[in-house]
């Protein structure tokens, strides 16, 4: 009991999210029971969340640094379109799997190269030209969308190799979805960067106080370049997972993921004000959001607007709880960078 008490005291925000998750699970179990606990439904969820979870994870770096990136998904789509065009043009029928795999890897390389270009452009606009991040990245969002549309006349690009979609839909050992594995790799990278390198520490410092960070000798430009690159690359990987779900690439696939990623981060207490964000909270947030999105579809008479309503409501609950709880116990706070609730 004391252990739980201590955990709750030290991780108030996390506790709130755990509470919410339990509440959501309990509610769906109570109302839908066996229909909710269908194995297929849960396996389906693991196939669905990695797409936007990768995007959210990328955006997390940007938010921690106190910046914003609205261009992620559309940049990813542009890269994916070029990748699929390349794959479609080079894969011919009867090719050996090994050869196809090679072409797929080159395609993925093309998409990631575009991500690097896009990330650097965002960085140049924001960091060197001092354009406000939201505006710069919205402008870039339009540029990428325009380029994609011009390139494809607004149509979907077909011809994703069967190998690509098959691998994307494989459950390793019958339960572990390939997209989840990809997400886990990105997660490990994110944890490593934030917790075990000075990059993480510097990032939180820049987000908390950019000027102070600069005067303490941190290369702010370099840090921001890395941040925007991470955002673009992670998001592009999310989009590439989406390509396997959709079997094609298009200028505007996944536009709703931009807001979904923001929802996940804000719900997790990672706000674009900067300096805040904890990976465990973001994971809880991703799980909760996916369970609600899928759970809501079990109710015949609830239309999908209710999920927005519930997400909005949850956000309010979490914000109220965190400000109330957070104000009470600042003395127990550990390192500043790990206690997002105390920065407010």
């Amino acid at each position: 009991m004391t252990k739980i008490k201590n955990f709750v005291r030290n991780n108030q925000y996390t506790s709130i999210l755990v509470g919410l998750l339990i509440a959501v699970l309990a509610l769906f179990s109570a109302l839908k029971g066996s229909a909710f606990w269908r194995i297929d439904l849960w396996k389906g969820m693991t196939m669905q969340f990695p797409e936007y979870a990768c995007i959210a994870l990328g955006l997390m770096f940007v938010f921690i640094s106190g910046h914003h990136d609205m261009s992620q998904v559309l940049l990813g789509n542009f890269g994916a379109i070029l990748a699929v065009q390349y794959m479609a043009a080079n894969v011919t029928e009867g090719m050996a799997n090994g050869q196809v795999a090679g072409i797929i890897f080159i395609g993925i390389g093309i998409a990631l190269a575009i991500a690097v270009v896009g990330g650097l452009i965002n960085f140049l606009l924001v960091s060197y030209l001092n354009v406000p991040p939201v505006m710069a990245t919205i402008a870039m969002q339009m540029v990428w969308k325009g380029l994609s549309t011009a390139l494809t006349k607004g149509y979907a690009v077909k011809g994703v190799p069967a190998l690509y979609t098959t691998v994307g839909h494989t459950y390793i050992g019958g339960f572990l979805a390939v997209p989840v594995v990809i997400f886990l790799v990105l997660l490990v990278i994110a944890i490593f960067l934030l917790k075990f390198t000075t990059f993480g520490e510097k990032l939180y410092m820049i987000g908390t106080n950019k000027k102070a960070a600069k005067f303490s000798g941190i290369n702010v430009h370099g840090m921001l370049a890395a941040t925007y690159l991470l955002s673009a690359i992670f998001a592009t990987i999310g989009v590439l997972i989406m390509v396997s779900t959709m079997g094609s690439a298009k200028a505007d696939y996944g536009i709703s993921y931009t807001t979904r990623a923001i929802l996940i981060l804000v719900l997790a207490g990672c706000i674009p004000d900067g300096g805040q964000g904890k990976i465990s909270n973001i994971l809880l947030s991703i799980v909760t959001v996916q369970i609600i999105a899928t759970g809501i579809n079990l109710f015949a008479n609830l239309n999908t607007y209710y999920s927005s309503l519930i997400w909005g409501g949850m956000l309010i609950v979490v914000l109220i709880m965190s400000t109330q709880v957070g104000n009470r116990a600042p003395k127990k706070a550990k390192k500043v960078k790990k206690a997002p609730q105390n920065a407010a």
Binding site: A23, L31, T245, N301, M321
Partner: protein, 344 residues
Amino acid sequence: MKKIIALLLVLVMAFGLIACGNNNANTDETKGTEATKGDEKIKIAFVPKVEGQAWWDYVGAGVKAWAEEHKDVAEVVYKGPTEVDAAAQVAIMTDFVNQGVDVLCFSANDPNACEEICKQARDKGIIVISTESATMTNIDYDVEAFNDAGLGAFLMDELAKMMGEEGEYITMVGSMTMESHNNWADAAVEQAEAKYPNMTLVEDKRVSSDSDAEIAYNRTKEMIQKYPNLKGILGTSSFDAPGAARAIDELGLTGKVFAISVAMPSETRDYLKSGVLTTVGLWDPAVTAKVMLNLAVKMAKGETIEAGIDLGETGYEAVKIEGKVIIGDGALAITKDNVDTFTF
């Protein structure tokens, strides 16, 4: 201790919040358990392109009316994304497939993007029926209100009636490269050549309205100037008739020049009522939806589907089948008398 109280409070609030969105969910829960007791009810999911838009709300109302009528046979859920996003739509379809519905009905935002999930659905033995997605391969059937030739002939018949079966006419398309529009126009011209010898096509080239009512308006004025005896404008895109009507109205040519195209009731209601337009073409999307549901029941019961089958709605008493596409005779003349029955 306080934190535990806080946590409890969160749980209570979350419960309350979600529960208040769920008043009607409780009732469908009881319905659900009844269904499992009596069993054998066919579970049908209907996924529209989007919810909260007049056209699809009208379809939703039709689907719900059908569900009420057939509640002893089938259990229908109507749910789509809240924004026009292929990814969001596929996510909802995925949830339904994993819930284990018997039939999946949908209208794809992007047919390519739905192939993969439809393939999975069919692998699980789910019946897949689409509309406005005739190009798809991983479906059982696609239901269309008409084929290109049927609609073209229909539009020409209606225009001929207005023109008294004689006089000069032109054809207008949304874009030169729009395949369906050009097919309709070709079929219309063929119909005129076969049935209306006194009608002459004066402009060999198709006039393009660029799917823009403003351009349709300007092009109509140009054409009236170029051909003083012009009597008919056979439009195709939903912008053609409203644009042409504005030109006819401004030039005071009501009753002398006639226009028709496929059009939305909301955009032509005023012109129909004032008499500038006599008739526009359309199909009733709610009827198409009901046909899909009737088809679903027949297929779930194991009945053979063959050309000439009666799918239980006006215009679909003896449908044609071309490959996987079921074609009705569902083109509908919208006039001042029935325009108000449409809520979009």
